[in-house]
Symmetry: C2
Subunit: 710 residues, 2 copies
């Protein structure tokens, strides 16, 4: 039952068939498959005709006409095959795009496969200098946008976690993926991956697939996440799937826990795990944090930190890794009041939302005003809506394309039974729609689980301004009578009577009053007993209460920082022809907020005076905390611009005199001329967002680059 | 041999006897112990005199006089005992101080024992909201002060590390502490801790300890870090030390590896560890980083991240933990040129340094000009000196008291054989002098180790502007002659000849030319053989070389962030009497740079108009990125100031009108009056260091607080 949450960040919905762009594609594909099947039968039929005409030695003109018709049919068939093939290989161009992004990222050390000189470890990556700077900028902005703006309580807990905590949260039992083993070599595979690969391969390569079979395979892909161990095993058997390398038979699927296990202390007896999420560190501290907040709700706690997931076979580069940075918020609210004071600030935002109903009825995501989605009850409550809006602002500020961002609501079967509502911010990239942020109303589940396991009450109090009179139903079993009637079973009967809810008790009371006795089921005895009116009294009592004690609900926005950054890389990447037109140059159009380096400073030619000016400007930039780089290599200015564009550096200062310099903007390639003494402050203002480039462009004289420049 | 580095951050020098404050204490103690011993013999002697007088029925006046003398001696003895006791219990007052700091830190959630509701795990701590903010400020400043100012290449590598990397670095073999087990219960203890506790207990509680014995125990404490397993075991036996709880006998000490072990992937076959330091991630990426830096030296790479150490029995709160944040720099230089272009900027700094020689001769740390220490060769080279200076600036900017900060040079026995020089920034706190930053010139060791293990050359190239003629010594063994003379031993003789260094070869050549033959030692044969001039030629050859290929040296400043923060807490803490004089109020005098919250905003009384002004100011502060808190509780302003002082908040804005507000500085308690619209920008300037409080104080009208205020 915890599964949906536990998988929240791990299972991107790569396999969901109903995405923005793929639904129309799907219907074209179906038509083509059907036409192809028809054409194949027509070819077969016509082939038979030709053969029987030949066998019966029919007149040559008849045979020729039949052969011509056959050839025409074959041509049509080939043409349909080609259309189908090109439709199915749309993913090839996505892969080509990805390859050029990834090549640039690796060549410029945005990231590096970890421990490369030792041939690496699957699913582990380093951020090299520019990647590390982007990550640090994203996290700083996260702190500003969420922690500071919302006055959240940020905490920092260890990764090493004792077993008891993760038993309470359900991870020890349920944080698993299904695995199969090559029965001869013992090599491990993720069961759903093998099935998925089989289906995709069939769908993409097998043109003779009937449209019924294609529909079946697509259904399997859509259901993958929901398959039980038995269902997965059955499908693997049915399709005759074997181990990819050896073709050996595979074991039945069995669960593999994804946590890295270790032991704490020297005895080897205290089992621990590397945390799979940061949230638990906040839940176990609820009591202290509530106190710190002056015993007031609502409040939010936040944590940024490493999380670990021992993937069976990591794929998809930076999207599915064994160690990653999470940024999580736990916003605690009174379950009876989920309004949010700042809700109005986001209610007018409009963006792509993909409610449950649209998914079920095969429609696409649609642009919705957030306020409408909340008021219509599509989004469960204001606080959830508020965070959806804030996440939208966060992602688009970073540079995520708003047309490739949608908020998808969890289907009923994806959501844990206790969850009130759940939305994922999904970003489209070359791998499909990727879940990057999960925003869930998890009700009181987590606090209750830790209360039970630890015995420490994780609750909030609402003090009434004056005591309230509360009507309480009091059930009083008369133990003497019950003892006489049930002897050794008395205790269980008493417990069953006391455990009745209000409705049951009132029904019992009414029945006793009208009939004098009643049949009463005692689960723990596994049978029904007869209760008469001497055995129990049920009455209402007025009590004075001074406070309400309750377990708060928690609304949890959880950010996969590495996934956001990878999608950002793809959305920011483009190529443009060099001035000479002889090569394609790579550019990352990072906003200054995110750019790893805000500015490059270079002397136009190697010259001591220019270098001194460059150093002067560099010194002012350092003092202002603006990251930058001096490039004094003798390469042509065009090459140096290209180098800096490929790192996504938004501005370049070129020193071509000792009194003024040019400032170039990366995407427009526009240049202005600014006095040396003002250069650093212009760069600072435009990098920190106090000033736009348009404003700079309107203020300073324009500089037209010479042919030599680019 | 790796031990010294591997222990670099783990082993604070708690036990070194020669600290600034303790050396004079030590001599007083010795005098007192000697005087006490003398006095005890005198008392015994006089007691005998009295007894013999009584036995011989001497005249009463004689007996009375003897008794009086005895009593006088006893009084003197008691007085000396008291002095010794109070000297030995100086640590009690340090502990009392620590207790009040720690109480405040825990009560205000600067930190929280992790998983407290599950009774915690030794050596794991959470940073609560103010602690987390302090940490984040310290790390931001670290990035600004080191990464940005020095243009370092920051990287971010995973914590999960495959075994081969840590085998190459030596951690798998040598990253151990010596452990003993209770032979009956199996409980584990750190062997050196037990011995240390025994010695300290004896020294502090046993007043009858002879000064020789005291000296011996102190010597043991000083040598603890250097004891072998056998030496530790022998001492434990000699002193009869048993298991603390059970008094059971203890096992012999044996090494326990301090890394948390896990396995990577589902097979259980790939062993991995949680990294014990971040440095290895940089070393394995050297080749890429060197390329990224345009194949130029010197350059520095930096990394901030979690590191793990499965301590046998963690003690000393935040100073000895199982998971901690490290910030490490690896500065790669040409071993033949360790100058630093910015060295002059730090050369005139003057601070406490504790060179090897002063430690060996029992002197104290002394104030030295850094430039002098480098020019006299006390500090090995300019780059090492530069980083010592930068670390000094970093720590003192954070608020570390410069009088409780010293740079201690490693003694020869503390340093790895390959290290050129090593200095620790040690900060004095209630636990003694704590190693918080290690600054080591590790020569080429780490890159060579990974080159060898991985087979990937981690080297730098210096291209000569024109080819250089290099004189090379060529040793040519004449195998035919050697074979005739030495038969089966020929190979070993050839190897020994080829392994000669330049001086040995030239000596051999000279001897052969003068005497015709020479006695030559072949280690691998364990004997000396006779070499004559037909058996080997030694001559010089001129070769043309186009570049120099070499393994760079690395200078490594490594920062234990948690330790720095804990020491900062102690240095910032003080108490002052409340205005009424009825209680002691706690204050942390954090610089604004470090303070968890820069400013509190409160309406003087609960009043809607004032609250609106407070919200307005809050909004401007948020926009400027200044962390702050609104406090609208109805408590007295004095109480609210006290609450904010205890969090180390440097400024408080009190709204007592709708046109102007007061701004109060924490330590002076001085207040100025500022217009509402200027309040936020004044707070921003004074928080970000563009303006000093002195300047604010000189600019705005002063506000004298009324009696009710504090």
């Amino acid at each position: 039952m915890l599964l949906s949450h536990l998988r929240a960040i791990s299972k991107a919905t790569f396999t969901k068939p109903l995405s923005l762009s793929s639904s129309s594609m799907a219907s074209t594909e179906e038509t083509l498959r059907k036409t192809l099947a028809d054409k194949l039968s027509a070819v077969e039929l016509q082939g038979n005709t030709v053969r029987s005409l030949k066998a019966s030695s029919a007149p040559k003109p008849d045979i020729d006409a039949a052969v011509q018709a056959l050839n025409a049919l074959k041509l049509e068939k080939t043409s349909i095959e080609k259309s189908l093939q090109s439709l199915l290989s749309a993913s090839d161009s996505r892969e080509a795009f990805r390859q050029s992004v990834v090549n640039t990222l690796e060549r410029r050390l945005f990231y590096i496969p970890s421990f490369k000189i030792y041939r690496g470890v699957a699913g582990l990556y380093d951020y090299g200098p520019p990647g590390c700077a982007v990550k640090s900028n994203v996290l700083s902005f996260w702190r500003q946008h969420f922690v500071l703006e919302e006055n959240m309580l940020e905490v920092d807990c260890p990764c090493v976690t004792p077993e008891i905590v993760l038993k309470a949260s359900g991870h020890v039992e349920k944080f698993t993926d299904l695995m199969v083993k090559d029965e001869k070599t013992g090599t491990c595979y993720r069961a759903d991956h093998l099935l998925k690969d089989y289906c995709n391969e069939k769908l993409q390569k097998d043109l003779t697939l009937s449209s019924d079979k294609a529909a079946e395979l697509k259904h399997v892909l859509a259901m993958l996440d929901d398959f039980s161990s038995q269902e997965l095993g059955a499908k693997i058997k049915e399709y005759g799937i074997t181990a990819p390398e050896t073709k050996n038979p595979l074991s039945d699927p069995y669960p593999f826990n994804l946590m890295f296990q270790t032991s704490i202390g020297p005895s080897g007896l205290a089992s621990g795990f590397m945390r799979p999420e940061t949230a638990q560190g906040i839940f176990v501290n609820f009591k202290d944090l509530y106190y710190y907040n002056g015993n007031k709700l609502p409040f939010a706690a936040a944590q940024i930190g490493q999380a670990f997931r021992n993937e069976i076979s990591p794929r998809q580069g930076l999207l599915r890794v064994r160690e990653f940075t999470l940024a999580e918020i736990e916003h605690f609210v009174d379950p009876e009041d989920k309004s949010h004071p700042k809700y109005a600030e986001v209610a007018d935002l409009e963006f792509f939302m993909f409610p449950r109903e649209e998914q079920m009825s095969g429609q696409s995501a649609k642009r919705l005003r957030l306020g409408e989605a909340v008021s219509k009850g599509i989004v469960n409550n204001e606080t959830l809506g508020y965070f959806i809006g804030r996440v939208y602002l966060f992602l688009t500020h970073l540079g995520i394309d708003k047309d490739r961002l949608r908020f998808r609501q969890h289907l009923a079967n994806e959501m844990a039974h206790y969850a009130a509502d759940c939305w994922d911010a999904e970003i489209e990239c070359s791998y499909g729609w990727i879940e990057c942020v999960g925003i869930a109303d998890r009700s009181a589940y987590d606090l209750r689980a830790h209360s039970e396991k630890s015995g420490v009450a994780l609750v909030a109090h609402e003090k009434f301004s004056e005591p309230k009179e509360v009507e309480k139903l009091v059930i009083t079993p008369i133990k003497k009578e019950l003892g006489l009637a049930f002897k050794g079973n008395q205790k269980k009967v008493v417990e069953a009577l006391e455990a009745m809810n209000e409705k049951e008790a009132l029904d019992l009371k009414a029945a006793l009053e009208s009939k004098g006795e009643v049949e009463f089921e005692v689960c723990t005895l596994g049978k029904t007993v007869t209760i008469n009116k001497n055995m129990v009294t049920v009455h209402k009592e007025i009590r004075k209460e001074h406070q309400r004690v309750f377990t708060p609900s928690v609304i949890e926005p959880s950010f996969g920082i590495g996934r956001i950054i990878y999608c950002l890389f793809e959305h920011a990447f483009y190529t443009r022809a060099s001035k000479a037109g002889d090569e394609q140059l790579n550019v990352f159009r990072f906003p200054a907020l995110v750019a790893p380096i805000k500015c490059t400073v270079f002397p136009l030619v190697q010259n001591q005076k220019y270098e001194e000016v460059a150093k002067l400007i560099s010194k002012s930039l350092t003092a202002a905390g603006i990251s930058h780089k001096i490039d004094i290599t003798g390469t042509s200015i065009g090459k140096r611009y290209a180098r800096t564009d490929e790192l996504g550096v938004p501005f370049a200062v070129t020193v071509d005199s000792t009194t003024s310099v040019t400032i170039r903007e990366r995407d427009s390639k526009d240049q202005v001329r600014v006095d040396v003494e003002n250069a650093a402050s212009v760069i600072r203002e435009v990098s920190e967002g106090q000033r736009t480039w348009e404003d700079v462009w309107a203020t300073f004289p324009h500089h037209s680059s010479t042919a030599a420049d680019e």
